[in-house]
Amino acid sequence: MSGELPRPDAIGSKEIDRKILEIFRSRDGGVVSGEELSRSLDVSRTAVWKHIKTLNGLGYRIEAVPSRGYRLVSTPDILTPAELSVGLNVARIGTSLVFVGETDSTNTLAYRLAEDGAVEGTVVIADAQNRGRGRLGRQWESPAGVNLYCSIVLRPPIMPLHAPQLTFLSAVAVAEAIERSAGLAPVIKWPNDVLVNGFKVAGMLNEMSAETERIDFLVLGIGVNINMQRDQFPADLRHPASSLAIEAGHEVSRLSFTRALLESLDVHYSQYRAEGYAPLRQAWLGRSAVMGRRVRVSGNQGDMAGTVEGIDEIGALLLRTADGTLERVLAGDVTIEE
């Protein structure tokens, strides 16, 4: 990665391209003359033609209609701000969008932008990651053109002690977006694994920069396998994984999914800021695969078995063990016992 940080408008969304698309959209598929475009944008007709060529290169289909002008036929399923912001209904999350074609990791980029002062709600999206990562240095397969890799900058006015609550925010929002955009029925395993038909379809990595009593910022990293095909998965996966397209049996629009995700995040985060953790916890419990189930948790401290009674104030798993004691589990891999 270069040392230069991208400015939100510098990448993939040249202001003029964005204006051209706006004009076409306002015509709803109608023809716009080259002269009108040239006048509205205050550039020459040759420049208009060049910008249209660029847009076609990005996957847009803009047709020249002889002696009349241009017409927007179709738009590509790309996650640039120009596309993503169309019809996006958010108050906070996604009001600032950064898109890069490829980066090492969106979390790394978002972390650097946050250190540099990026506002709360800034969303960093990459079409591909060359060093996509998970917990503890694990790799996250991130091919171009098929999935979503995004990181969200939050600056919640809470104590660092309570920050783990926000792990449940991205899990709930990812599950809701899968349901809304792909029509699938996801469940959440504690704390934030999102499963469809038992397969892992999303990975989340959250990072925090904080002092003892104050959070500087949080970065919520979310990777979702949307249209990835079977032959694109690495052979040595820790968990059985899949994509929304494989499970749904058809392609899923990355744009629709991402808009749904940002809107869900926005709604739950606004509610979290206004009312605290309780509604988020309820939303998580409502989608949890483990609530009321007998589970086994294996972790650094050994194995433990019991029945899940809920999650506590910071999201620790509450487990009723065989001898009747209520254990509070902070870390570990959960397996549901049949």
Binding site: R135, P160, L218
Partner: protein, 159 residues
Amino acid sequence: MDIKDLKSLIKMVTETDITEFELEGAEEKIRIKRGCTAPMVQYQAPQPMVAMQPAMVQAAAPAASAAPVEAVAPAAAKAKGNEITSPIVGTFYRAPAPDAAPYVEVGQIVEKGQVLCIVEAMKLMNEIEAEYRCKIVEICKENAQPVEFGEALFIVEPL
């Protein structure tokens, strides 16, 4: 041996791969033994020493929770310095990945803003950074161990 010499001796030993070091003279016997996380110092003087002796051990002998200091000198050694505590309840990680080198070792001098460890809670990774230039005197927790809110992770000596 004065405190300065003892300090340099410990520094010298911790910078090598030596795990145990013993020096016996006419008047004193010094034994330095390194555990997995922190060096251990045993200081034995044949005769009662002057008043500075406990201070000597205090300054030089970090008390590792994993390897208790067998201080023969009066008053068990308690590490001197500032505590860096955990802002969250979670799991302590000394390295970014299981096969990676630890962020810091005992005796190392770290710069302001340098990452010391990760504390993970509910898949939220919190990189703990040095808030000032300092020397790591003690690493209070072992890798992958649970930590409580406010619990000491490191003892450091501000520089």
